[in-house]
């Protein structure tokens, strides 16, 4: 009751504030608008944040979470044995980091690839098939990366030379891959929806959860950071996204930079995709990677296109996901607060909404992102 009351009061206050800002925006005369509400940017941000807060309060209310038990269980979750949770989080963080770092580079160069989910789907199947044919899990990961690279190459060729709409392309890849995943599962192994990988092909795990691929992901993030910020090539990548004319005038081929970066980025996502089956689950399930590509996009957005930050954010999002599963399996919580599990799954998306709204002006996306470069 108390919590609901507080939430209600908050919501009313927030609504009132945003209503005032709204009226002011549409230049409708209001009796008194606080002076600090003037100014386009701050006002927009406040309206956005208020809208998100109201939205989250609605979600908590709908999930029956506006109760005092919430504090008790949050405290319990905080005193939980974290080492195992963190180790488990490293599993999810691996594909997220790989895909997100690749996407960071690609977006820095000006190509916005929202087909990460599709790359995951396709590289899972092709990677596992490659592992079975070549007889080695590591080879499977490489095949997965090559699959991703091929998709990235086709994507970037179409985006750069044919000036295709990158967002439509990305959605096209996603839909194509959704169909192909199920089609290939059925035609290759003749069994719908699921396929177990031979244990001999699994990437060995250290310490129960930690896999070598996780360290690869960490190294990739660090290397990407160094390339992006400490080398001439990194400068060119960033310039290709920010001011392609300048790079072109300096005699550097924009098209080659974009294609190369996007291909490498997609290869990283493909490596992450193959990891799902070979390094983590040990099987392909049709729904295995559903939503992961979009969480990776969320990671990119929250990290503001910084590879190292992407590593950290991927880890946090992975941890939230693991915590959600822990919440679902601990008997006390799942019976008293059944909505907690669902809300935990939403946390990455809500955090992303908040972060983009708050930092929208401070960390802008590259100016030429998503636009084909046309020489004048």
């Amino acid at each position: 009751m108390i919590l609901e009351g507080i939430a209600f009061a908050l919501a009313v206050f927030a609504l009132g504030l945003s209503l005032m800002a709204l009226l002011d925006t549409f230049r409708i005369k209001t009796p008194k608008v606080p002076a600090w509400l003037h100014g386009e940017k701050i006002r927009g941000r406040i309206i956005g944040i208020v809208a998100i807060v109201v939205f989250v309060l609605y979600l908590m209310w709908a999930h029956d979470l506006l109760r005092l038990e919430l504090f008790e269980y949050t405290a319990r979750a905080l005193t939980e044995n974290w080492t195992s949770l963190i180790l488990a989080a490293s599993l999810l963080a691996t594909p997220l980091t790989l895909a997100a770092v690749g996407e960071c580079l690609s977006e820095r160069a000006g190509l916005f690839n929202i087909g990460l989910e599709g790359i995951f789907f396709l590289s899972v199947v092709v990677g596992v098939r490659g592992a079975e044919i070549l007889g080695s899990g590591v080879a499977g990961l490489v095949v997965g990366a090559l699959t991703g690279a091929l998709i990235g190459f086709i994507f970037s060729m179409m985006a750069v030379y044919l000036k295709a709409n990158q967002l439509v392309l990305g959605m096209g890849i996603n839909i194509f891959a959704t169909g192909m995943l199920a089609y290939l599962l059925m035609t290759i192994w003749g069994f719908p929806g699921i396929h177990s990988v031979r244990p001999a092909l699994h990437i060995p795990k250290l310490l129960g959860y930690l896999t070598p691929v996780f360290f690869v992901a960490v190294i990739v993030a660090i290397v990407a950071h160094i390339i992006l910020h400490k080398t001439l090539f990194g400068l060119r990548i960033r310039a290709a996204g920010e001011k392609p004319e300048a790079v072109d005038v300096a005699g550097v081929r924009i098209d080659r930079i974009r294609i190369l970066v996007c291909t490498v980025g997609a290869a990283l996502a493909g490596l992450g995709g193959a990891f799902f089956a070979l390094g983590w689950f040990g099987e392909i399930v049709k729904e295995m990677a559903v939503g992961m590509g979009f969480i990776a996009l969320a990671v990119v957005v929250v990290a503001g296109l910084e590879p190292l930050l992407a590593l950290a954010v991927a880890f946090v999002f992975g941890f939230v996901r693991v915590l959600a599963d822990w919440v679902a399996t601990s008997a006390g919580i799942s019976s008293v607060l059944p909505g907690a599990f669902y809300l935990m799954h939403m946390v990455p998306f809500i955090v992303t909404l908040l972060v983009v709204t708050i930092f929208i002006g401070r960390r802008p996306f590259p100016k030429a992102l998503g636009k084909p470069y046309i020489r004048e």
Partner: protein
Amino acid sequence: MITRIERNANTEINAGEDEVVARLFGTIREHLRTLKRPLADSLFALFIGLLIGAALMLVFGHNPITGYISMLKGFGLFIREGSFNKTEFLEALAYSVPLMLTAITFAVGMRAGIFNIGAEGQVYMGAVAAAWIGGHLVLPTGIHVLVATAFAMLVGALWAILPAILKIFAGVHEVISSIMLNWIAFFHVPYLIIHHFAGAYAERTAAILPTARYPVIGASLTAVIFVAIAACVVVYFLLWRTRAGYELRLVGDNPDAARYAGVNIRRAILISFIIGGMAAGLAGASQVIGRPLLGWTLPATLGTVFGLGFSGIGVAVVGRNHPIGGIFAALLFAGMLNGAKFMEYDFGIPSDLVVAIQGVIILALAVPTLLPMIRKWVKKIGRKPK
């Protein structure tokens, strides 16, 4: 432009019966002329999609020709038997209902210069809203259907409001916000179903009461298709015959011109989001209260509504972001989806191939200049021998 006005003026002076007919045909011809390019583009993309689909069948040892003949059964065309199957045709129509609606979401967004891919989440919300009204509220016959439909549209629009607000006021890119809201809805709706709206079975909503069901026309087609087509026509009139619609399209075509002309850009974007949300909400409702095949309920797995929003993007792209074009594109996609099951029955070609083909069609249509480019190449190659 001037000649057209003069011609119209001339015909008005001596408007005999033949003249009226001639004028009618003239306008139709004019429409067809403007339609030629987009139609050619869409058909070409369809051709590429089918070609790659055929290649995929060949690689895995299926015969593409017999496969596609089987797929045509989804449109009601049983070519081998030489007959037309009305049930399958109605089934294809039933498939097309949600697709033409989610296509509106994307198309109206694109017309306003917004890449609104939030239909997916709005479909879930609309579906659960319709399931709640239809399964838990007792209302008189006739009114019940209307209330359920209207409420689903309202909830769909509400779900679209947040990305609209973030876009208008905070400048958050709509792709990011609508992706996030899709996944929030994906985890929000199952909880609503299991813990609030479940009936006898925990994992799905209570069965829709008979008063809230759309009357069945045949197969699994219900009267909801009339609502859907009406929605498409209304959106067409809104966009091409009203001032608000003109402003909306102007914002999409040329935001700078719109700004100088004094168009309220924020309002135009808000309207596009709301129209899209209502259409997607209706699409969700159509699967719950207008589709006997799906058991008059919404399962917590969302299996019966999952992917409709994303398919709508493909439909909108093939329909060239036009609500009326969307109807035909939806029919095409629906027939293919419906025909996929025959491919699986007859030859064991997994039905998911059709989804992959749709993906290829979208990829081909992402390139705006594909056909002219190829024409140029063909000409170049043709010239070389000389």
